[in-house]
């Protein structure tokens, strides 16, 4: 039958089987702060945080188990898989029981979380904003001694004492990715870049718009082609969208996708078109080569928090703001294949980050204005 490791072959994604012994795939997220916050602050939510007693064995049943639910495919090699991988990695490292359920339909979000409580997990990890409604389970008696963690609820439901969430501002790293792209284009004298995403919905289109502003800030006469395929997982369309851009002479591409990213990158590599990768760290990928990674997959935020959880230090009832240029993640990293341009790009990234943090640049204004 079909068996064998997914770990060996899929490269570029954090490796599971390396386990606690191997290099920590989320090490990049666990480093020290990279900068200091300026006057600009992300939205705040009211509410006091507390550290529950007995963490990590919240329910005091003598063992620790955590459960992950996410609306996407946990084998997509990128966004959704990162949560599962972070949980698995921590599980292996600390000897926890980990259960993962992917492709959870919206209708089952709440019940899936409650089910995890029933199975007496100590922590429920809601892997993406689509399933945000699942945090309401935290108010149920059955979940009273379970720690709820949500990736990016962004205001609905409102932050309260029953759960902890991570928050990041996608527009800022989209802008910085644009800046990095622009510097590379300037150095290589490229005038046209491509941006490809799935659904033509704001969570993609605003990113595209801000990315473009970033590019233009470096190369004012550049063209950025934005294509929306209408489908987040349709690899065929994603690849052909790239082909269209390629035949119109783009010199660089940023596929803003989950699963289809690597497929596009492979095509781009074959055509010698440099690629920016996201949302995981693609710099070490063996299936395709990237010049930069935009790192913002939920697993990166979850991994350090799980370490805190293991050490009994994870606060409940607050929003953890992950800020570009302040925290290790999110981040825009140049890869070694950027070659001699790496240094210039890095400098520009630093510059742009501090401009965002000191309020000189407001990505949200860029998106709407």
């Amino acid at each position: 039958g079909l068996s064998g490791g997914k770990s060996g072959a899929t490269s570029g994604s954090p490796s599971v089987s390396s386990g606690a012994q191997g290099a920590d795939p989320f090490a990049v997220a666990k480093g020290p702060s990279v900068g200091s916050p300026g006057p600009a602050t992300a939205p705040e939510w009211e509410g006091k945080t507390s550290i529950p007693a007995g963490q990590p064995d919240m329910n005091k049943d003598g063992k620790v188990s955590i459960g992950v639910i996410t609306s996407g495919d946990t084998n997509d090699g990128t966004y959704y898989q990162s949560v599962a991988d972070a949980a698995q990695y921590a599980g292996t490292k600390y000897g926890w029981k980990v259960s993962v359920q992917g492709l959870v339909p919206l209708t089952q979000a709440l019940s899936a979380a409650e089910n995890l409580c029933r199975q007496r997990v100590d922590m429920v990890i809601i892997g993406d904003a689509q399933l945000a409604q699942a945090v309401n389970a935290a108010k149920e008696p059955i979940c009273k001694d379970t720690f709820f963690y949500l990736q990016g609820g962004y205001g609905s439901p409102k932050q309260d004492a029953t759960f902890t969430q991570s928050y990041d501002v996608g527009l800022s790293y989209a802008y910085v990715a644009g800046v990095a792209t622009g510097v590379y284009m300037k150095n290589k004298n490229i005038k046209k870049a491509g941006f490809i995403a799935g659904l033509a919905a704001p969570f993609n289109t605003t990113i595209g718009a801000v990315f473009k502003k970033g590019v233009l800030s470096q190369v004012p006469d550049a063209t950025v082609v934005e294509t929306y395929t209408g489908d987040q997982i349709d690899v065929g369309k994603a690849v052909e969208a790239f082909a269209a851009q390629q035949s119109q002479g783009i010199g660089l591409v940023y596929p803003y996708f989950g699963a289809p990213t690597v497929a596009i990158a492979k095509k781009a590599n074959a055509a010698n078109i440099p690629v920016i990768g996201s949302p995981i760290d693609f710099c070490g990928s063996t299936s395709a080569s990237f010049i930069a990674s935009v790192i913002f997959a939920p697993g990166y935020y979850l991994a350090p928090l799980l370490d805190d959880f293991a050490n009994g230090k994870l606060p409940l009832g607050g929003t953890r703001n992950w800020r570009l240029g302040v925290d290790p993640v999110p981040a825009v990293h140049t890869c070694s294949s950027a070659g001699s341009d790496g240094a210039a790009i890095d400098a520009a990234i630093k510059q742009a980050q501090s401009e965002i943090n000191n309020g000189t640049i407001d990505p949200l204004k860029l998106a709407t204005g």
């Binding site: 068996s3 939205p43 993962v100 919206l106 209708t107 029933r118 289109t205």
Partner: protein, 396 residues
């Protein structure tokens, strides 16, 4: 198209004057109903068959899990525990069964009328949107808002299905294909409605900052479907609504004038025509009614399960409800049982993750169950033939 929905006149088009028509009157609907209603023996043997083939369908899924190294007993134990293991499990099961039963009940209406609408998934989506328009815009006591939301959902789902009927009866467009295509259009329509400038878009914080998510606001607490505590169980009111709706559908089809006319239409459009039934009118009504029920399922989903509209809100409820009605051979009672079985599979599937069994196995099982449940008439016919052959040999 004759197979599915020729305007009745074309059915007489059998070339030359042959007394037998190639295309039987009634088209697919009648064919289907006749084939599906094949006499299936005594009540006891029917129940026996049902249970047997349900088991066979389950077994296929268990076989797959076993062949990939997951213990079937563990899978089965999880499924049972998660669906009927305790009061809470039962409550889940009923909650998941509710929208499925609504969709299936509606599907029964159009199938019995011989209209092969398979676009329930899109109609569910539009129903959720319709309910959303009410609950996100009108605030008031639950007793007012919830019925309004259901009405809006039914209207939205019904109109969406009505479009399909309109295309069929005015332009002769194949209903299987158009209803299918409308599923994809419904999804795009909803994404537009909940994005950017769309009227159902959440103006609060977005993924990337204010107003940038593709999602609706959250259903206000007052408009959430209540979960009354009855007989020691938390019974989701969505299930009560679905159960009542199913009973009403069964009664209407059985005992009312319109139900009679609908069934006659499904069996024989020709006969229906002679007694004054207009296929375009009653057929459209049946399709629209099925859409309205699917729409109501959308309301149950929004007000009782997802509380928010996102891309993909319908969550295959439409597809599964359709399959339930077909596997039940358009019988309401069997549909209700199957909806609960499907609900149980979904609820039970929630526990599989803890044993690291991929929950996708549930899809495999439900599909196998549907196919397996189609088999009993075939088996009965085969058995009868064999008996007859035996009898003939003995008598020789």
């Amino acid at each position: 198209m004759s197979g599915l929905d020729v305007p009745e006149k074309t059915k007489e088009s059998s070339p030359a004057d042959r007394s037998r028509a190639v295309v039987r009157p009634g088209g697919l609907g009648a064919e289907l109903a006749a084939a599906l209603r094949a006499n299936a023996g005594s009540a006891a043997s029917q129940v026996g068959m049902f249970v047997l083939f349900l088991g066979i369908g389950l077994a296929v899924g268990l076989l797959l899990s076993w062949s990939t190294g997951h213990s079937p007993t563990v899978v089965l134990a999880d499924l049972l525990d998660g669906s009927f293991g305790n009061a809470m499990s039962i409550s889940y099961t009923l909650s998941f069964a509710a929208p499925l039963l609504l969709v299936a009940a509606g599907t029964v209406i159009c199938m019995q009328a011989g209209q092969f609408n398979i676009g329930q998934e899109g109609q569910v989506t539009l129903g959720a949107v319709g309910a959303g328009f009410v609950v996100f815009n009108i605030s008031g006591p639950a007793i007012v808002v919830i019925p309004l939301a259901f009405a809006a959902a039914a209207v939205a789902g019904g109109l969406w299905a009505g479009l399909v009927a309109l295309l069929k009866f005015t332009r002769g467009v194949n209903i299987v294909v158009s209803s299918l295509l409308f599923v994809f259009l419904a999804e795009q329509l909803m994404v537009w409605l909940i994005s950017g400038s769309g009227p159902l878009h959440d103006d609060g914080e977005g993924v990337l900052g204010a107003g940038t998510a593709s999602q609706s606001p959250t259903v206000p607490a007052g408009a959430e479907l209540p979960t009354p505590h009855l007989f020691g169980l938390d019974v989701p009111s969505g299930f009560l609504i679905a159960a009542v709706a199913a009973i009403v559908v069964a009664w209407v089809l059985r005992s009312t004038l319109v139900g009679y006319r609908l069934r006659i239409l499904g069996h024989s459009p020709v006969v229906a025509h002679t007694i004054g039934v207009s296929e375009s009118r009653l057929g459209s009504l049946a399709v629209a009614a099925s859409g309205a029920f699917a729409g109501a399922a959308g309301a149950v989903i929004l007000l009782g399960q997802s509380y928010q509209l996102h891309p993909g809100t319908a969550s295959s409820i439409g597809w599964n409800g359709l399959l339930i009605a077909l596997a039940a051979r358009t019988r309401i009672g069997v549909s209700a049982v199957l909806a609960i079985v499907f609900g149980a599979m979904i609820a039970g599937g929630g526990l599989l993750g803890s044993d690291n069994v991929p929950v996708d196995i549930v899809n495999v099982m439900t599909a196998s169950i549907v196919v397996a449940l189609l088999c009993p008439p075939v088996v009965l016919v085969a058995l009868r033939r064999r008996r007859q052959r035996r009898a003939a040999q003995v008598s020789s």
